[in-house]
């Protein structure tokens, strides 16, 4: 009897340890993934000075809800039968908060991956931590170049949109090739955003042409106005103005140069601030004649631009917004951006396969090649080929503002390959 007891005890112990593991399966080892769900997380400025970007995670939520409800190409709802659960927290653009909320997502909520985190400085504050813990920090919502260029050093972190330096380099090369006698004045925001743009512009212009830049002025995004800077730039005799500023300050710039009666022959404005919804405000305040002729780039379609109204991608966007976030202003480009990013995330999840792990996701992200995104410009391909090409979206079109709308003045410009 005692001998049997011993064996029974061993058997019981084996069952006690083995059974939960067997039942749990792979899900027990990959945080945030179960047979029926994928938990994604992100931090965004829902309050505070940068809260105008708050629609981004809401656009992503609307898109994920759509994916969760519709039947995919494999006949299943969600991604391969798994529903996407999207958890995002407010960091008020304060790195102290970003660190707390990110730790919360990783250690308490146990998300599978961080996606779309917003802000250069906030995301930089958690980059070391996430890479050390091997948690994907995907498709950060910022064009800061170093997120892509540091991919080798931080393999779990990657950007999404065309980075600021490559965009500004396009402007630099345009001036170099088409306006060799231009006298350029640069106004840039004193933070990573503006500095990145300026660096890219100067690089694109080339060291041989660096004397084209006759004046440069900076400002803090917290300053009330940019009048003194613009007066100085005007006095330099420049005929070309580069505006590297976030939307509110860009609008201020247009309003101010109208009051100064200064109409530079060419104005280049950064793409983030060139969204139709902001430019419309600039036109109202400064007059169409001030804004007309401005040059920028874009890589997505614009919900406030009527020329896209009949586009199937735009229709899909409006349907999704109407069904899942009807109270949102669907002309706000931030919702649209969120949805476009959501598409890429879903593609990456599909590519990562049924056996979903963080490694398989990173592998999918590093080799993504998606041309199906209905929210990006036609023919824009979301392509990554690490370690050579770490910038998922590298194509954009030059556009010019005329008669109330942006029209393309070039084909797609590809700044690939980027290391």
């Amino acid at each position: 009897m005692r001998k049997g007891m011993g064996t029974l005890a061993v058997l019981a112990a084996a069952l006690a340890f083995g059974l939960p593991a067997a039942l749990g399966g792979a899900a027990a080892t990959t945080p945030g993934v179960t047979a029926h769900s994928i938990l994604l997380g992100g931090t965004f400025p829902l309050t505070g000075a940068a809260s105008s970007y708050a629609p981004i995670p809401r656009g992503m939520q609307a898109f994920f809800s759509y994916i969760n409800a519709r039947k995919g190409p494999d006949g299943k709802r969600g991604v391969g039968g798994r529903q996407i659960i999207w958890k995002y927290y407010d960091d008020a653009y304060n790195p102290t908060q970003t660190v707390q909320q990110t730790q919360r997502l990783v250690e308490q909520d146990k998300v599978f991956a961080l996606v779309g985190g917003l802000g250069t400085e906030p995301q930089q504050a958690v980059r070391d931590y996430l890479n050390q813990k091997k948690v994907p920090q995907l498709y950060v919502s910022t064009g800061a170049t170093f997120f892509g260029s540091d991919h080798k050093k931080y393999p779990w972190t990657i950007g999404w949109q065309p980075d600021y330096q490559s965009e500004a380099a396009i402007y630099g090369r345009y001036i170099r090739d088409h306006m060799p006698n231009a006298k350029v004045a640069v106004l840039y925001q004193n933070d990573d955003y503006g500095k990145d743009y300026n660096a890219g512009f100067v690089g694109g212009l080339g060291s041989a042409n660096s004397d084209r830049v006759v004046a440069t002025r900076t400002f803090n995004v917290t300053d009330p106005a940019v009048t003194t800077q613009l007066v100085a730039l005007r006095a330099s005799g420049a005929d070309t103005l580069m505006i590297f500023a976030t939307p509110a300050k860009t609008i201020q710039t247009y309003a101010t140069i109208a009051r100064l009666g200064w109409k530079p022959g060419h104005i280049f404005v950064n793409s983030v601030s060139a969204a139709q919804v902001f430019i419309n405000t600039a036109v109202q305040l400064s007059g169409a004649s001030t804004v007309n002729g401005s040059i920028s780039t874009y890589y997505t379609k614009d919900p406030a631009n009527p020329s896209w109204d009949n586009d199937p991608g735009m229709k899909l966007y409006r349907q999704i917004m109407k069904k899942y976030y009807p109270s949102g202003n669907d002309k706000d480009a931030n919702y649209f951006y969120g949805m476009a990013k959501g598409w890429t995330i879903v593609q990456a999840l599909y590519k990562a396969g049924k056996n979903l792990t963080r490694e398989s996701l990173m592998n999918a992200v590093n080799h993504l090649n998606d041309s199906t995104n209905p929210f990006l410009l036609p023919k824009v391909v979301v392509k990554t080929n690490a370690p050579k090409d770490n910038f998922p979206i590298s194509q954009q079109e030059l556009i010019q503002f005329e008669n109330g709308g942006w029209t393309p003045i070039s084909g797609l410009i590809d700044t690939r390959p980027r290391g």
Partner: protein
């Protein structure tokens, strides 16, 4: 040389924007001895109401303007009665916290009601420009400056001549005596807050066409308005306005000609504040303030 004059014009235009808000701050300080940290946000909130009436619902500008002044007056008086007066027993600190709470509240409320998206609020003045040699002056800036002087005049006359103005000065200086004399102190002070709120609304509506309307647009203006009010002497309306213009022009010229700042214009504000601090050390009541005998 042309840049010199243009910077002066720009500085005067900036001064025009700060001055009306500085005037509101001075009015409240003179009437109730309080510094209202929420003054800028009250102006911002009023400007959003104006946007809603004029831009969103198509009301004619000056009608909307007048309506917003009335609404702001009522709001300011209401805030005084409901929030400030009951808390005045609590002392200086309680009031500072209360006005900060209002700042947070109004900022959040505006963002919630109207979203943080930047909006266009147009100026009522013509878009045309006056050109004198190389210097360009816009009618919008001229209009702002004229309005700012009109506001000073209104406040000045109000205090000097009207039947409500003089009792208000008395109420602020000697509340108990005033009460004994039959002056309804609370009413006077509420009127003061209402007037200040209306002035803040004017400041916001003049600033929005060039600064662009969004919930945070008045916060930097508030800092400069404080500096201007303190510079000019926080108890004198005329001083505050002159202080605003001096500050506006001063900063413009500093950032053009002092290399330290030209290279890093982001240092405009700290330099201006440092200079202000130095001035305060020598003249604690501001450039035009009357020296009050302080007990220790």
């Amino acid at each position: 040389m042309a840049q010199f004059w243009q910077q002066i014009v720009g500085g005067l235009a900036a001064g025009g924007i700060y001055s009306t808000l500085a005037l509101a701050l001075v009015l409240i300080h003179r009437a109730t001895g309080i510094v209202n940290f929420a003054q800028g946000e009250m102006g911002m909130f009023s400007t959003f109401i104006a946007w809603s009436l004029i831009e969103n619902h198509g009301m004619e500008y000056w009608l909307g303007f007048a309506l917003v002044l009335l609404i702001s007056f009522a709001g300011g008086a209401g805030i005084y009665g409901a929030v400030i007066r009951p808390l005045q027993r609590g002392g200086e600190l309680a009031i500072v916290i209360a006005t900060i709470a209002l700042l947070i509240l109004l900022n959040g409320l505006a963002g919630w009601i109207w979203t943080p998206e930047v909006k266009a609020f147009e100026s009522p003045f013509p878009h045309s420009l006056i050109t004198i040699g190389d210097v360009v002056i816009s009618w919008q800036d001229v209009g702002t400056i004229i309005v700012s002087f009109a506001c000073v005049l209104v406040v000045f006359l109000f205090f000097r001549l009207t039947r409500t103005g003089r009792p208000m000065r008395a109420s602020a200086l000697r509340p108990r005596t005033s009460r004994l004399m039959g002056i309804r102190v609370t009413l006077m002070l509420a009127v003061g807050w209402g007037l200040a709120a209306a002035l803040s609304a004017v400041a916001g509506m003049m600033a929005a066409p060039v600064l662009a309307l969004e919930p945070n647009f008045m916060l930097p203006v508030l800092v400069y308005a404080f500096a201007a009010a303190v510079l000019g002497g926080i108890d004198g309306p005329v001083g505050a306005v002159i202080g605003s213009y001096i500050l506006g022009v001063g900063i413009s010229l500093l950032s053009t000609y002092v290399n330290y700042i030209t290279v890093a214009p982001e240092l405009q504000l700290p330099v201006a504040l440092a200079i202000l601090l130095v001035i305060l050390l020598f003249r604690p009541s501001g450039l035009f303030g009357r020296t009050v005998v302080r007990r220790v």
